[in-house]
C-alpha cells in the first residue's frame, strides 16, 4: 500500500463507533434481558448490493447478544466491501415482531479540489472523476481506485484526502493535489572506448511553452580526466510542441590521442548554437548553426584559436513510439554538416549515417543488424573520429582516428528471462581509412548482455579482435535511465 493511500486512512473519519450499535429496546425488555421474539428482520436504509439475505431470513428468539452479533456482522460486511463510513444507526423491535435495523449509508455530497496551479482545470475535472454522481454511498475501495487513475491520468505527484462529515451525517471529500514537477533528471554511466569511464547526468525541465535541457559529463582514462563537457539548450516551442527553435551553449575540454604521431593534444572549446527542429513522433529533423571556438594545445602544426562556423542538417526516422515493443523499432539517422574554419582554410563537410533494425524470427530471438558510416572531407586530424567506439567493439587501447569510417554489425539476442535479461553473440566489421591513408578491414566479435529493471537498462559486452585470442578482449558497459 503506497503512502498516499495510508494517508487517506489516517485522514478518514472512521465511523466505526463501537460497532455502530445504537440499539433502542422496548421499555418492557430493558430491565429484564428477556430474548426478543423476532418474526423477521428488516434492513432499513440499505441500498448497496451486499448479500444479507441470510440475515433477513432469521427469525425466532434472539438474545441481545445475538442481535449485537447480527449488527456487527452487517457492519463487517459493509466494511469488507469498502463502505467504511456506513453504520447501523438504530435497532428497533416492532410490535409485530419485525426487527428493524436501520443502516446509515453515508453519502458523498461534494468533492472539493484545490492545489492545481499550473493546470487549473484539474481542480474541476478531478471533482468529476472522484464523484461522478453526487449522493453515491461512500466506498473507500472505489475512492482508492479513482485516486490511482486520477494520479496517472492527470500526472499528479500526490492526491491527499480529508473527509468531513456534514450536519446531516453525509460526507464531503476535501482533496489537495500536488502537481508533478515538470523537471526530470536523467543520466548514464558508460565505458567510452576512447575517453574512458564516462558518467553523465542531465536535467530536463518543461515550462509552458519552452524547455531547458542541461547535462554534464566527464571521462576518466588512465586515472586522468580526458574529457569534461557541459551542455545547455533552451527550446522555445511554436504553436505545437513538436516544433521548436533552440539556443544552446556547449563547453568542452577534451584530450585526444593522435595515435600515429604518438602524441596527445588538448582542446578547450565553447560553442554557441542556434537552430530549429520539428518532431512528428516518427520523423525528427533539425537545422542548426554553430560557431565552434576552440583553443587547441599541443596540436601539431597549429596553436592558434580555431574559429569554425558550421551548418548542420540532421534527420532521424524511428517508429519506436508507435510500437508496443520498442525493441522491434527501426532507426535511421542522417546528419550533414558543412563548415568553414581557419584550420582547414577551405570549406569542409561531415556526413554521418546510422541505421538499425530488428527482426524476430521467434518470439524470444532477435537479430539486430546495424550500419554506421562517417566521413569528412577535412584532412585535419582535428575533424576525424576514432575508429573503435561503441559501434565497433573488440579493439581496446587503439586510438586510431579516421577520415572515412564504415562499420556494420549484427547482434543476436536471446530472451533469457522474459522482459528482463537478454544475452547473445555479436559481430562487427569495420572498413576504414587509417591515419596513413590506407584502407583497412577488421572484424570484432563478442558477447552481449542487457538487463532492464525499473526503467534502468544495463548493457555489458565482452568483445575481442576475431583474429586474436578471446582472452585479449575487453569489457564495455553502459547503464542509463531516468530518475
Amino acid at each position: 500500500m503506497n503512502k498516499d493511500v495510508i494517508k487517506i486512512f489516517v485522514s478518514i473519519i472512521i465511523f466505526l463507533t463501537a460497532g455502530g450499535v445504537f440499539a433502542r429496546e422496548r421499555e418492557e425488555n430493558r430491565e429484564t434481558e428477556k430474548p426478543l421474539i423476532v418474526t423477521s428482520i428488516q434492513l432499513k436504509g440499505k441500498t448497496v448490493k451486499i448479500n444479507t439475505q441470510d440475515i433477513e431470513n432469521k427469525s425466532g428468539q434472539l438474545s441481545k447478544e445475538e442481535v449485537k452479533r447480527i449488527v456487527a456482522d452487517i457492519t463487517k460486511r459493509y466494511r469488507k466491501r469498502g463502505y467504511a463510513a456506513a453504520y447501523v444507526d438504530e435497532v428497533i423491535i416492532r410490535n409485530d415482531g419485525i426487527l428493524v435495523i436501520s443502516i446509515h449509508e453515508t453519502k458523498v455530497v461534494a468533492v472539493r479540489v484545490r492545489g492545481a496551479e499550473k493546470k487549473t482545470t484539474i481542480n474541476t475535472d478531478l471533482e468529476k472523476v472522484l464523484l461522478p454522481e453526487k449522493g453515491e454511498v461512500f466506498n473507500r475501495f472505489l475512492l482508492e481506485k479513482r485516486i490511482e487513475l486520477a494520479k496517472k491520468g492527470f500526472e499528479l505527484e500526490s492526491i491527499k484526502i480529508n473527509l468531513k462529515e456534514t450536519e446531516t451525517g453525509d460526507m464531503i471529500i476535501n482533496v489537495l493535489v500536488e502537481e508533478k514537477s515538470p523537471g526530470e533528471f536523467y543520466g548514464q554511466i558508460s565505458m567510452d572506448m576512447s575517453y574512458g569511464i564516462t558518467p553523465m547526468v542531465g536535467y530536463f525541465y518543461l515550462f509552458r511553452r519552452s524547455a531547458l535541457d542541461t547535462n554534464v559529463l566527464l571521462s576518466i582514462r588512465d586515472d586522468e580526466l580526458s574529457r569534461v563537457e557541459a551542455n545547455i539548450n533552451y527550446y522555445i516551442f511554436r504553436d505545437e510542441l513538436p516544433k521548436a527553435v533552440f539556443f544552446g551553449l556547449n563547453f568542452r575540454r577534451i584530450t585526444d590521442i593522435w595515435q600515429s604521431r604518438e602524441t596527445n593534444y588538448t582542446t578547450t572549446s565553447v560553442t554557441p548554437v542556434v537552430g530549429a527542429r520539428h518532431n512528428t513522433g516518427i520523423i525528427y529533423y533539425g537545422l542548426f548553426l554553430s560557431e565552434i571556438i576552440s583553443f587547441p594545445k599541443d596540436y601539431p602544426g597549429f596553436d592558434n584559436a580555431i574559429y569554425d562556423t558550421r551548418l548542420t542538417f540532421d534527420i532521424k526516422i524511428s517508429d519506436k513510439d508507435l510500437l508496443l515493443d520498442p525493441r522491434e523499432a527501426s532507426y535511421l539517422r542522417l546528419s550533414l554538416s558543412a563548415g568553414w574554419d581557419n584550420l582547414n582554410k577551405i570549406p569542409y563537410g561531415i556526413a554521418l549515417l546510422k541505421a538499425e533494425t530488428s527482426y524476430f524470427p521467434l518470439l524470444w530471438l532477435r537479430f539486430t543488424p546495424k550500419i554506421q558510416s562517417r566521413a569528412t572531407t577535412s584532412v585535419e586530424r582535428f575533424y576525424w573520429s576514432y575508429v573503435y567506439d561503441e559501434t565497433f567493439l573488440g579493439f581496446f587501447d587503439d586510438y586510431t582516428a579516421s577520415r572515412f569510417k564504415n562499420t556494420a554489425g549484427l547482434d543476436i539476442e536471446i530472451e533469457a528471462a522474459k522482459g528482463l535479461l537478454y544475452i547473445g553473440p555479436l559481430i562487427n566489421c569495420g572498413y576504414f581509412l587509417n591515419e596513413e591513408n590506407n584502407w583497412i578491414f577488421k572484424t570484432g566479435t563478442g558477447l552481449k548482455s542487457s538487463i532492464t529493471i525499473s526503467g534502468i537498462t544495463i548493457l555489458l559486452y565482452y568483445a575481442w579482435d576475431i583474429t586474436k585470442n578471446p582472452k585479449e578482449g575487453g569489457f564495455y558497459f553502459m547503464a542509463e535511465g531516468k530518475f
Binding site: K49, N51, Q53, D54, K80, R81, G82, N139, F141, L142, K145, L149, K152, I317, S318, D319, D321, L322, L323, L324, D325, E328, A329, S330, L332, A355, T357, S358, Y359, F360, P361, L362, L363, K418, G419, S454, G455
Partner: protein
C-alpha cells in the same frame, strides 16, 4: 517486426478485395480453416507481465466452445475459476467465497484460439481487405500480408498469414494514428484432428496501466470434443461475496 520502415518491404498498390478475387480466396480459406475449431479443452500456462511489474504465472485447464463461452480452472498460483457466457464474465475465488463479475473482458485476459473469429460474420459488408505483399517471417517462411480496414470502427488490422498452411502468424491492431494497440502472435502450430492449431499465443496490449503482455502455452489439446453446456455456468454459493471489477 516494425513493418512500416523496414527497408526491403515490397508494398503492393493494394489490391482491394472483391468477388472471385485471389485475395478474397486466401483470406476466406483461412477464416474457414480457423472456423473448424468448435471446442478446445487444453491445459494452459499463462505468463502475464504488466509494465514495470514482475511476471505472474497462471496454470490451469481451459475449455471453450464455438459460442464464445469459456471456462478456465486455474490451480496455480491458487484456485480460481473464470467463466464467460452470455450473461457475462465471472472470476470466482472459491477459497475466499468471492466472485468478480463484469460484462466485458479485459484485453490482457483474452484467451482465444481462433485468430480470425471477428471476421467470421459480415466479412464483406464490414471489412475492406487488401493484400500488401509478402514478407520474410521467422525462418524460411514467406508470409502474405493483409490489411483489413474495419469500416464501422475505423480500426486497421494487419495480418500475416502463411497461405500454404492456411494459418495466421500475427495480427496487429492499429489506431488512426498508426499506433499499435494490440498485437497477437501465433506460433507453435501443430496439426490436431487435421486442423492446424497454434500452441503458443502471445498478446501485447496497451491498457491504462501501460503495456501488458500475456503469453499462453497450450498443452494436451483435445479438439472438437463434446463439452457439456453446464461447465460454462455456475451456481455460486448463496452467501458468495459479489464484486465488480472496479472494486
Amino acid at each position: 517486426m516494425s513493418s512500416v520502415f523496414l527497408i526491403g518491404n515490397i508494398v503492393d498498390s493494394g489490391k482491394i478485395y472483391g468477388n472471385s478475387d485471389p485475395v478474397k480466396d486466401i483470406f476466406q480459406r483461412i477464416v474457414k480453416e480457423s472456423s473448424k475449431v468448435k471446442t478446445i479443452d487444453a491445459d494452459i500456462t499463462q505468463e502475464i507481465q504488466e509494465s514495470g511489474s514482475p511476471i505472474q504465472v497462471f496454470k490451469g485447464r481451459y475449455r471453450v466452445d464455438s459460442k464464445g463461452r469459456f471456462r478456465i480452472d486455474y490451480n496455480e498460483p491458487g484456485k480460481q475459476i473464470v467463466l464467460q457466457n452470455e450473461k457475462g464474465l465471472y472470476w470466482y475465488y472459491p477459497d475466499d467465497n468471492m466472485v468478480y463479475q463484469a460484462k466485458k473482458e479485459g484485453a490482457e485476459r483474452k484467451v482465444q484460439i481462433n485468430p480470425l473469429s471477428e471476421f467470421k460474420k459480415g466479412l464483406e459488408e464490414r471489412f475492406e481487405v487488401r493484400s500488401i505483399g509478402k514478407q520474410v517471417y521467422g525462418f524460411f517462411v514467406i508470409a502474405e500480408r493483409f490489411v483489413v480496414i474495419d469500416k464501422v470502427k475505423g480500426d486497421t488490422i494487419l495480418i500475416w498469414v502463411e497461405k500454404e498452411k492456411n494459418i495466421v502468424l500475427k495480427k496487429i491492431l492499429r489506431d488512426k494514428n498508426n499506433r499499435e494497440i494490440m498485437k497477437e502472435v501465433y506460433s507453435g502450430y501443430k496439426i490436431i484432428n487435421d486442423i492446424n492449431l497454434p500452441t503458443v499465443i502471445d498478446v501485447s496490449a496497451r491498457t491504462d496501466r501501460g503495456i501488458t503482455r500475456s503469453t499462453t502455452y497450450y498443452r494436451n489439446i483435445r479438439l472438437n470434443k463434446k463439452l457439456a453446456k453446464k461447465i460454462f455456468y455456475m451456481d455460486f454459493p448463496s452467501n458468495v461475496e459479489r464484486r465488480t471489477f472496479d472494486e
